[in-house]
């Protein structure tokens, strides 16, 4: 009996569940019972963090600073001065790029001061006509890849201009053009450092884990306190969000290289720096590129959130449009964001793929043909703008800058579409919604809340132990302990309930869709593009239609999460299935399996480790979306994180709540990752 229990994992699981259920029944819910709920021993933690931050930012190391505006010396803390100068640098870079596109006075002010610029009205930097920007970008696309990319890039800019979103789009673009390279550079540097130094990697790893899962809302207030409000603050929050995958993939890429490559480099007489930059990094390009792709996607996914702390552009306009329930307009703005994301992604890919031809012997014209082409476009564009200023009298020069919201628009069409869906499906959906809430959501939620804390620990740690031994079990327990000792355990249970349901649904849909689409290269490509789109498409937009149909209920939250969290499940399923070597398919077919058998017995098990990582990502996506779901109306951790934006102790509350969410994710991550690695080893893939 005991021998069988040791051998068979499913028996262990059954025993665990029985024990869990017994605990649930035996333990009585009461305030003082520690088996029911642990006392909030670290309730003070947010306050401590808060006081710490306040001290560092406002009281530590005061220095006298001359304030020319009020002509007085003011005592200012050193840290504050330091972070404000850092944000000043970032802001200058963003403004500089922005004024190349849109014109303005800030860059001139930086060098001359407001007094001078106010007196000299002529000292304004002129904007580039939109035709020049669009043409120049198309030439860039052509130079990097070819006519097809040029066409796509050109189309993107023309779309943006024609739909009257030029100004906000350029504001967003200038913001991304600074935030994305900052993330890439920082990620590359940290990745290289971690690659060279084991200790750095050891320290970095858990930090990256937390950063990746921590909901972005929770560090908005700290960023505002440290760096102020404005585009720079948005950029810094974006960098925090976008850097971890870059670091991860840099380390991964460098580690994968075979030692022969490094040796070949050394034999050719490289010094250390040459070895790194001329040999190792170019060879690891593929993985590093995936990192760049992830950075760009994350940057644009942050556009809306960054606008909560001062980033101008599409994100801010989108929030305003949603507040007026103008879904059509919001949709157009969303499309602009997605187009910019895809365009930047394709351009950066093309740039990295471009091989330098060291042996070409070109004439001056050949070498500089793209610059010359741009010169021509520039002159033509400026001329057109001049002509435009003569033709259009009413103040809008359509050949220079198409003014905001004066372009053509399809928003009425989309609005009508939303209304049509409403009119057609509402009553069917309503009865489904009622059934779903009464029969599924409410019972599951109360079941989660009825779990005694001891039983939860036994179940979670038990699963960890069975899957990965004592180490994993203890890690899971540690993460949960932190949450249980805050005063937010019940809230965390509600978050867990929403997450569990949505991960189950997303995984099911993702695996089924991924499997179907992976059967054919065309559908695969279409599906991956859809995944890209949904990953960058601002999730705020579909919150409103979903709310229209399902009301301010948990169903709406769940659907919003599922739409977003199905992306990684689908993507990793496709990639996992495609990574199964074709020889294996053939070996299977030769042994006489039919299509279904081959799928179930060969492809699925072989793809499983990859898919497990997909489920892992699904959990991360679901958790981040649970927080956005708070904008619909939930009573979980997300609602409190939103609340921390106005709290007196907002910094501490936000961070600790964010950690709680991150720790839920990390606990699941521990188990899933260990399991996937075991499967990999068993299959000989690792």
């Amino acid at each position: 009996m005991i021998e069988a229990l040791r051998q068979k994992k499913y028996l262990q699981f059954i025993l665990l569940v029985i024990f869990f259920l017994i605990l649930c029944v035996v333990i009585t819910p009461s305030e003082g019972n520690w088996f029911w709920r642990l006392p909030p021993l670290i309730k003070e933690l947010p306050l401590i963090i808060n006081n710490g931050v306040d001290y560092v930012m406002f009281d530590w190391w005061l220095i006298d600073v001359w304030d020319p505006d009020i002509e007085e010396y003011e005592e200012k803390p050193l840290m504050n001065q330091f972070t404000r100068s850092a944000s000043g640098v970032v802001l200058f870079m963003i403004e500089f790029v922005r004024e190349i596109f849109l014109g303005g006075v800030k860059t001139i002010v930086t060098f001359t001061g407001w007094d001078w610029a106010t007196e000299n009205e002529w000292a304004r930097w002129p904007a580039l006509p939109w035709t020049v920007v669009a043409g120049g970008a198309a030439i860039l696309g052509y130079a990097l890849k070819g006519p097809r990319l040029a066409l796509f890039v050109g189309f993107t800019f023309v779309y943006i201009a024609v739909f009257g979103q030029w100004e906000p789009s350029m504001e967003t673009l200038s913001f991304v053009l600074i935030a994305a390279p900052m993330s890439v550079l920082l990620g590359l540097l940290l990745g290289i450092w971690a690659f060279r130094n084991k200790y750095v990697e050891m320290v970095l790893n858990p930090i990256l884990n937390v950063m990746q899962i921590m909901p972005h809302f929770s560090y908005l207030v700290p960023v505002v306190v440290f760096f102020g409000i404005g585009d720079h603050a948005g950029a810094i929050a974006t960098v925090i969000f976008a850097t971890p995958p870059m670091v991860r993939l840099t380390i991964l890429g460098l580690k994968k290289l075979s030692p022969e490559i490094a040796e070949a480099g050394l034999m050719s007489g490289c010094n250390n720096r040459q070895l790194l930059f001329k040999v190792l990094i170019p060879t690891a390009r593929r993985d590093i590129l995936i990192g760049v792709n992830q950075v760009i996607m994350s940057c644009l996914a942050m556009v809306v959130i960054a606008s909560l702390i001062g980033a101008k552009g599409l994100g801010n306009n989108l929030l305003i449009a949603l507040n007026q329930l103008r879904i059509g307009l919001a949709l157009e703005l969303g499309v602009c964001i997605v187009l910019i994301a895809i365009m930047l992604d394709r351009l950066s890919l093309a740039w990295a793929d471009k091989q330098v031809d060291y042996f070409a012997d070109l004439s001056f014209v050949e070498r500089h043909k793209f610059s010359l082409m741009f010169g021509v476009v520039f002159i033509v564009g400026v001329l057109l703008a001049l002509i435009g200023s003569l033709v259009f009298k009413e103040g809008f020069n359509y050949l220079y800058l198409i003014p905001h919201n004066k372009g053509i628009t399809t928003q009425d069409f989309w609005q009508a579409g939303v209304d049509w869906v409403w009119d057609t499906f509402f009553y069917a959906l309503k009865s489904f919604n009622e059934w779903f809430i009464v029969e599924v959501l409410v019972p599951v939620k109360s079941a989660y809340l009825a779990m005694p804390v001891a039983a939860t620990f036994v179940l979670a740690m038990g699963i960890g132990y069975i899957v990965g031994g004592a180490r994993v079990g203890l890690a899971v327990g540690g993460f949960l302990l932190f949450i249980a000792l805050t005063e937010w355990w019940d809230r965390a249970l509600i978050t867990a309930y929403l997450m569990t349901l949505s991960v189950l649904i997303s995984t099911f849909i993702g695996v089924v869709m991924g499997t179907l689409c992976a059967q054919n290269p065309v559908t695969t490509r279409i599906m991956l593009t859809i995944c890209d789109t949904f990953q960058t498409f601002p999730s705020f937009i579909y919150l409103i239609p979903v709310m229209m149909l399902f009301g301010v209920t948990d169903t709406s939250v769940l659907i919003a999460i599922v739409v977003y969290a199905t992306v990684p499940a689908t993507r990793y399923t496709i990639q996992g299935l495609l990574s199964v070597p074709p020889q294996l398919h053939e070996a299977g077919s030769m042994s006489g399996v039919n299509r279904v058998q081959r799928y179930l017995a060969i492809e699925l098990p072989m793809a499983f480790p990859h898919m497990a990582l997909g489920i892992n990502q699904t959990v991360v996506f679901a958790l981040s979306m649970v927080i956005i779901g708070a904008l619909i109306g939930t009573d979980d951790l997300g609602q409190l994180i939103l609340k921390s934006l106005s709290d007196k102790d907002g910094v501490g509350n936000g961070l600790v709540l964010g950690l709680c969410v991150a720790f839920i994710g990390l606990a699941i991550d521990q188990v899933l990752r260990t399991w996937a690695n075991q499967r990999k080893q068993a299959l000989g893939l690792a």
Binding site: D69, V438, A630, Q639, L640
Partner: protein
């Protein structure tokens, strides 16, 4: 020379404390930073106030900001002013920042505000809750049964704003008035959720009780606020009272960074005098919500049409 500048600074300081005659003080050319939130009247008013400041030659900059987190930014000087501080929704954040230091109260608008639970007027007309707007009507079963939802457990539902707005005020009020066995409170995630609920309830013709305020764009379609027992100082649970009272007729304040009077004495004088009435705020919102104008264009239009109102403020500061 140094003495002179010091004297000037001193006179500025004195001037900002009540003497309206700041004749020769010149405003700094540094931009005045005005926050942009996500509702129409606030955005239009931001551009209106910005336009007034520009008319006296000051530089202005606009920055998108979260309406709750903005007070911390004003305190730090990253944002200069906030021109719509609603008593019951932002009062807490405003006073929190003031306690920490760095934010000053720059006066009150003429407009009074009301932030209260209510129903769209057609709900009253349809007789879904006979006896409204008196709150006693909520007690009857023929009322609350029309406001139940799938997850409300048979009780009528109040859709309140996010908890960050007034904490547990509404659940406490339900309990104090003895309505908690008939009604329950659901916290929405934001203003969008409230407007969506209004729109979908209207389409469906179903009753709904939501948190709302006036002046707001919903005024145009008709919104009836429930009349609770009158507000008295300290009647709320959080202030030590029983909680058996409705919301007060609220103020709409203006906030500024403490340096603003010193750096931009003229602009500050205008800002402290400036006061909009409920219809004026409604007008600004309507230009965007009803006439579908762009926020900036709406502000230009309003400034053009109402010179008689805002010109005197700029004169007074001279």
């Amino acid at each position: 020379m140094k003495f002179v500048t010091k004297l000037a600074a001193l006179s500025l300081l004195v001037a900002s404390f009540g003497f309206s005659n700041v004749a020769n003080a010149k405003d700094s050319t540094k931009p005045i930073v005005i926050p942009i939130h996500n509702w129409s009247s606030q955005i239009v008013m931001a551009y209106v106030i910005g336009g007034i400041f520009e008319s006296i030659g000051d530089n202005v900059e606009y920055v998108p900001a979260d309406s709750q987190a903005v007070y911390e930014s004003i305190r730090n000087g990253d944002v200069t002013i906030s021109h719509e501080v609603w008593q019951s929704t932002f009062g807490k954040s405003f006073y929190n920042a003031m306690t920490k230091g760095g934010v000053i109260d720059a006066g009150t608008h003429a407009a009074t505000t009301l932030e209260e639970m209510g129903v769209p007027t057609w709900v009253v007309e349809k007789g879904l809750c006979p006896g409204l707007p008196n709150w006693e009507a909520l007690k009857s079963e023929e009322c609350y049964k029309n406001f139940t939802t799938a997850d409300s457990g048979g009780k009528g539902r109040w859709l309140e704003g996010p908890q960050s707005w007034h904490g547990d005020l509404m659940p406490e009020r339900l309990k104090a008035l003895g309505l908690d066995d008939k009604w329950t409170v659901k916290f929405a995630g934001g203003a969008d959720a409230l407007w969506t609920e209004l729109a979908s309830a209207k389409k469906e013709g179903r009753g709904t009780v939501v948190f709302n305020w006036t002046p707001n764009f919903t005024d145009a379609e008709g919104f009836t606020f429930i009349e609770f027992p009158a507000y008295t100082d300290g009647c709320r649970k959080a202030d030590g009272g029983e909680g058996k009272c409705g919301s007060p007729k609220g103020w709409l304040k203006k906030a500024a960074n403490y340096k603003f009077p010193k750096t931009h004495p003229h602009a500050y004088t205008i800002f402290s005098q400036l006061s909009f009435t409920t219809p004026q705020i409604g007008q600004m919102a309507a230009l965007v919500d009803v006439d579908k104008m762009d926020h900036k264009d709406a502000a230009k239009q309003w400034l053009k049409d109402n010179e008689a109102i805002w010109k005197p403020w700029t004169q007074a500061g001279m």
